[in-house]
């Protein structure tokens, strides 16, 4: 089955992977509510809030997390010499034109095939022409295989936790006078360090190398190489991951082994480190980070093959 229908298709369900944990901010964190502060806000740059259980609390939207993971994955893929598009509107793989499709864009060709009922050709064309990131994270008219939940300030029982908010005033120094530059004063709200945001990332059908790429981005976030939110170059947005839990299950999980999903993929045996329940692999805490490491190795090994 997996031979005929590529993993990027949503017609097959080859495996599921769920990554859960807490993002804990080590530095001030600001995911902003936009340029204009909400009515009643006392600051110029307010943090985004959501109402949970009757309380309005700061949170990290899934879209922000997805952006962090995709842009990090793109840097890593491009560094390996792979084709990877930015995913920005108008610059995706779907917007590329191909001579073999009569100069049509990939999206035009796929939609044309779908109109005449040639679904397999549409799937084949997308799988062949779209970059790994479009297959993983999605592209116009194509739903990605990785879903990022909002990261909310919830405790283990799912109850909302109060999140302390701070306000910082920013200025700029006028290079010519050495004094405060006129018009550069702003006040920004931020989440005080130490807040815990519960997150979930759910992935379907990802080959081991793609899971490895996803996990590499997760480790870079955990180690501070990648940050979340605004004001990142001014000290904000450093987070680490706590209570990491990884579960992987499905048809391509056999006795702790994640079998290779396509001809570029490599099998990985997690049976010696993770808890194995027939078609399911579960890892928590330090063991989960070992699983992350194993899959990162697969990404490193496979990335050269993915170029061809």
């Amino acid at each position: 089955m997996s031979q005929r229908i590529p993993w990027s298709s949503h017609r097959v369900r080859l495996r599921d992977a769920v990554v859960e944990g807490y993002l804990v901010n080590d530095s001030p964190l600001r995911v902003g509510a936009g340029r204009e502060p909400p009515l009643g806000s006392a600051v110029d740059l307010a943090v985004l809030r959501v109402a949970i259980g009757g309380k309005k609390v700061p949170y990290i939207p899934g879209s922000s997390l997805k952006g962090v993971f995709r842009s990090t994955a793109m840097q890593l893929a491009l560094a390996k010499g792979l084709h990877a598009c930015s995913g920005l509107s108008g610059y995706t793989c779907m917007d590329q034109e191909f001579t073999e499709y009569g100069g049509s864009t990939l999206m035009g060709y796929v939609q044309d095939r779908l109109r005449v009922g040639d679904v397999m050709e549409a799937i084949r064309a997308f799988h062949e022409k779209a970059c790994l990131l479009c297959k993983m994270f999605g592209s116009p008219s194509f739903t990605g295989h990785v879903v990022f939940s909002d990261a909310d300030p919830l405790d283990e029982r799912g109850e909302v936790v109060e999140v302390p908010i701070g306000v910082r005033t920013g200025i700029a120094i006028d290079r010519r006078t050495g004094a405060v530059h006129a018009g550069a004063l702003y006040q920004v709200e931020y989440v005080e360090p130490g807040a815990r945001f519960r997150f979930t990332i759910a992935a379907t059908n990802l080959p081991n190398y793609a899971l490895g790429l996803l996990f590499k981005a997760l480790r870079m976030l955990h180690e501070g190489w990648v940050r979340v939110g605004g004001f990142k170059t001014r000290g904000f947005g450093r987070v680490h991951v706590e209570d990491l839990r990884i579960s992987i299950w499905g048809l391509t999980v056999e006795q702790g082994k994640l079998v290779a999903i396509d001809d570029k993929d490599l099998e990985v045996d997690l049976g010696s480190i993770a808890r194995v329940e027939e078609h399911k692999v579960v890892a928590e805490g330090a063991v989960a980070w070992q699983v992350v490491g194993k899959l990162e190795e697969v990404w490193e090994q496979c990335s050269a093959r993915l170029k061809s």
């Binding site: 290079r175 010519r176 006078t177 530059h181 006129a182 360090p193 940050r227 170059t233």
Partner: protein, 342 residues
């Protein structure tokens, strides 16, 4: 003497690709401490980096009397008393739940502005814009606002250096070297500065002339932080160190930071600090670092005495790459030599 307002050409080019890991990436662990004679420095310096917020202090019991009073005469009397006891409180030192901090924005601004001012024109061209500046001014007379600043950085203040902008997108814009490294409107920077968190540091309250009151950290106070870098060349990493006042070793020369740093007419000296490099770590996805006699592999960390030759090599590479354009200014020494009103 008036400033010569030459028209300068800011050298600009396309910003480098941010989407691809291609160059040096890693983090510097850096400490920042206020100078102290007990630590061998020439100055005892306090530091104030404020929150920008002003607080009032007043007699709370009087306020309770005001709110509890029902008779007009008493109320008027209480309000008069309350007004007399109200005053502006001490300007707070910046802090988070982690304690007192020098915000990353302050450190970034300090390093960036020092670098912008350290680039002087070569002919009619200059390597860096002034990302935040007013129009060129005539040399201020002693006592006028900014006169000490002008005397320190005179060599780079002559001429108009308009700011780069990238709001039309990185594919369309051209920026100067420092905007490419530190970012500008529409362009993400390649270096990130964490907050510098106080290490066992506590503040003291200082009363200054003209009823100015500030919370400050005393001489010898230490802060610790990190500087992340991405896609830099060795000489650009050297520039970052140069901007912190490092040159020949991991300990930098005294530089100025924060409020009141130019004032020498106060009971205390403010803002004389030293940056010290504690470690340099290359990210696993970085390119290897080869500079001078130093060679660092991706994923490795250099600390302690081994940093001394590395700093020298990196800053040396910057000085070589930008020869005749980069000036080293002893800002602390110059301020010390200037006397108000002279």
């Amino acid at each position: 003497m008036g400033a010569v307002q030459r028209a300068l050409k800011v050298l600009r080019g396309r910003p480098r690709d941010r989407s691809k890991a291609d160059g040096l990436a890693g983090r510097l662990k850096v400490s920042l401490r206020t100078c102290s004679r007990s630590l061998g420095d020439s100055y005892d310096s306090y530091l104030h980096v404020g929150t920008g917020m002003l607080k009032f202090s007043f007699d709370r019991s009087l306020l309770e009397k005001v709110t509890g009073s029902r008779e007009r005469v008493n109320l008027e009397s209480f309000i008069r008393e309350l007004a007399e006891t109200m005053s502006v409180d001490y300007a707070l030192f910046s802090s988070t739940r982690a304690g007192v901090v020098v915000p990353g924005s302050s450190v970034k601004g300090n390093v960036r502005s020092r670098l912008e001012l350290s680039f002087v024109p070569k002919g009619d061209a200059v390597r860096a814009c002034f990302v935040r500046s007013s129009q060129p001014i005539l040399e201020p007379k002693p006592g006028q606002q900014g006169w000490r600043h002008y005397r320190i950085w005179r060599g780079s203040l002559e001429g108009h250096r308009p700011a780069c902008t990238c709001v039309e997108g990185p594919e369309e814009c051209e920026v100067c070297l420092l905007c490419d490294i530190f970012g500008t409107a529409g362009l993400k920077g390649l270096v990130s500065f964490s907050d510098f968190v106080g290490v066992g540091t506590s503040t003291v309250k200082l009363d200054l002339p003209y009823n100015e009151k500030v919370e400050a950290v005393p001489p010898g106070s230490r802060f610790s932080g990190e500087v992340y870098f991405f896609n830099l060349k060795p000489e650009e990493l050297g520039l970052i160190l140069f901007g912190m006042g490092l040159s020949d070793s991991r300990v930098g020369r005294p530089v100025l930071l924060g409020k009141l740093k130019y004032r020498r007419d106060l009971p205390h000296i403010f803002g004389v600090v030293r940056y010290e490099l504690e470690s340099l770590e290359l990210a696993p996805f970085s390119k290897g670092l080869e500079v001078g006699s130093s060679s660092i592999a991706p994923g490795s960390v250099v600390s302690g005495e081994k940093l001394d030759p590395l700093v020298k090599d990196l800053v040396g590479a910057a000085k070589q790459a930008y020869a005749e354009e980069l000036i080293e200014v002893d800002e602390v020494g110059i301020v010390g030599s200037l006397t108000s009103g002279v």
